[in-house]
Amino acid sequence: MKNTTLKLKHLAVVAVVGLGLVACNSTGGDNAADKQLLGAGSTFGYPIYSKMFSDYSAANAGTQTNYQSIGSGGGIKQLMSKTVDFGASDAFLSDDDMTKAPAPVVQFPTCLGAVVVSYNLPGSPELKLTPDLLAGIFLGTITKWNDDKIKAENAGVDLPATDITVAHRSDGSGTSYIFTDYLSKVNADWKSKVGVGKSPNWPVGLGGKGNEGVAGVIKQTPGAIGYVELTYALQNQMSFASLKNAAGNFVKPSLESTSLCANGDIPADTRISIANSTVDQAYPISSFTWILLYKEQKYDNRSKEKATNLVKELWWMIHDGQKDCNALNYAPLPTKAVAAAEAVLKSVTYDNQPILQ
């Protein structure tokens, strides 16, 4: 019995010492903590961000950027709660969102991506969809794959008589925003019944968490249709549709057809929707994706080193980091957008002093 008590005591001592060590580890080494950044948000940009941050970490020893793909809505919320260093969203902050923020927030684009309409059908046929077909499917007015309206656009494709299962996002999503923004621009019914939003009130369908979740539902469910970023469809060999753009051409989403949307001018605050581009061969559901951070970086005891590391890394993303885009089928930023993003990053301050000289 005596033995047992001794052991209990030892155990307690070990436990206390262990906890102490862990605590020391956390308080010591300020330098390391300054190089550890936390970002969260967009799942649309998750593939490219995870690649960029992995590359940046490899090139700059000690830097670690923890990016959690919790959805654009989550990225904005966590930035507002000041629990992350930066947020990522595919829907830029509206004026209304800006007023809700506890301090001024700046945002800049990092690249462009396409939201593709992906589906799971036997034989993986290549479908052509018009804006009205797309709106009809997502409104729940077209419910069968062999609906005459779908057949009319896809002569020669063997469409099954099965139900269409719509897959959408269950979380607040910039991808949903891009998709509903497009549908609202091209379809009056959609605009009046559902509208634009990060978490719209979906009339039909199943929800998946993140682009990953929606792609998972589509891949797992025969007869499903949903919208995901191009990379997810390509990396998982999922079929996706050509869409009829504003110029009347059926365009397959690709790096090239996405880039075509972004050749116009960029406003100084970089907030621009490029959906439903009028360019001849442009893919209509394309968008920039943004990173958001506080304009004044001195808040909540943040060190200047941390703020500098953050801005430096973001600067790297819009320059050297752009080389990662092509391999992952995101379109790199056009020159005008890079210039606008540079101006935004230069405006970020620490204690009212610009961080980048």
Binding site: I70, G71, S72, G73, G74, G75, I76, K77, Q78, M80, D97, K100, T143, T162, D163, T165, S170, D171, G172, G195, V196, G197, K198, S199, P200, N201, W202, P203, V204, G205, L206, G207, G208, K209, V217, Q220, T221, P222, G223, A224
Partner: protein
Amino acid sequence: MSNSKIIKNKIFLKSINGSAIFVMILLAGFFITLLVSSFPAIKANGLSFLWGKTWDPVNDNYGMLPFLIGTLITSFLALLISAPFSIAAALFLGEYFPKGIIPNIFRNVIELLAAIPSVVYGFWGLFTVAPLVRALEIKLHVPAAGLGIFSASIVLSIMLIPYSVSLIRQVISMTPIQLKEAAYALGCTRTEVIMKVILPANISGISAGFLLSLGRALGETMAVTVLIGNSPKLPTSIFSPSNTMASLIANEFNEAVGSVYSASLVEIGLLLFVVTTIINLLGRVVIRRYTVKA
């Protein structure tokens, strides 16, 4: 005793009492935190929150009826599916074979169901149950998604079995032997003893067992989130995709911007807390009375 020993002893007794008080404070803290954090929503949404059919964060319009219905259908369906299995296994282990090596192994095997984490159930269900349900849906000519209330309920029912079995088995095995012997002496068969003596005599205990299982079902999150299809619409059948209160929180709490949106989610959490608390208190009272009586 030396002075230091007396002081040490006092500290010991104080810390024992203190930790007990801490648990009470912890629980009260839960309630108060949930109440305070949901206040903006209670003020903005009013009572119509409870029966509002639309959950539309874009327009700051919050009604929880779809999730309330989704939670109730999913949980009760799960309970219904698991009930015959739970009662049978409880009778098997509590009445037919209360002792012995083989029943002991059986009991441990069934308890293993409780060892599988919720998220693993969800993952497993996604690859096995959902395709089977989808095949069934095609046969029944209903929209065939695979994911929905039915899939979630099936997996949930499996998760409930170890709890209901262990609760009901304990209740059944406490039946006074005199009651059973009297029935046997009158010439009853075992079935008749079970149906006319054991089950009726224990009806309150068995109900309490199911009630406590229901409490677990209401709060179960991860497996349901993976399988239920996460739709904010009012379900129209047991095959519809839906959302439970718990799965809604899991999906949206991390991103709810705006005070009313996040407070509305906390309000749902508050309701979940209050309902599970009431269920646990009720179940406890019955089970208590039971063990005292027996």
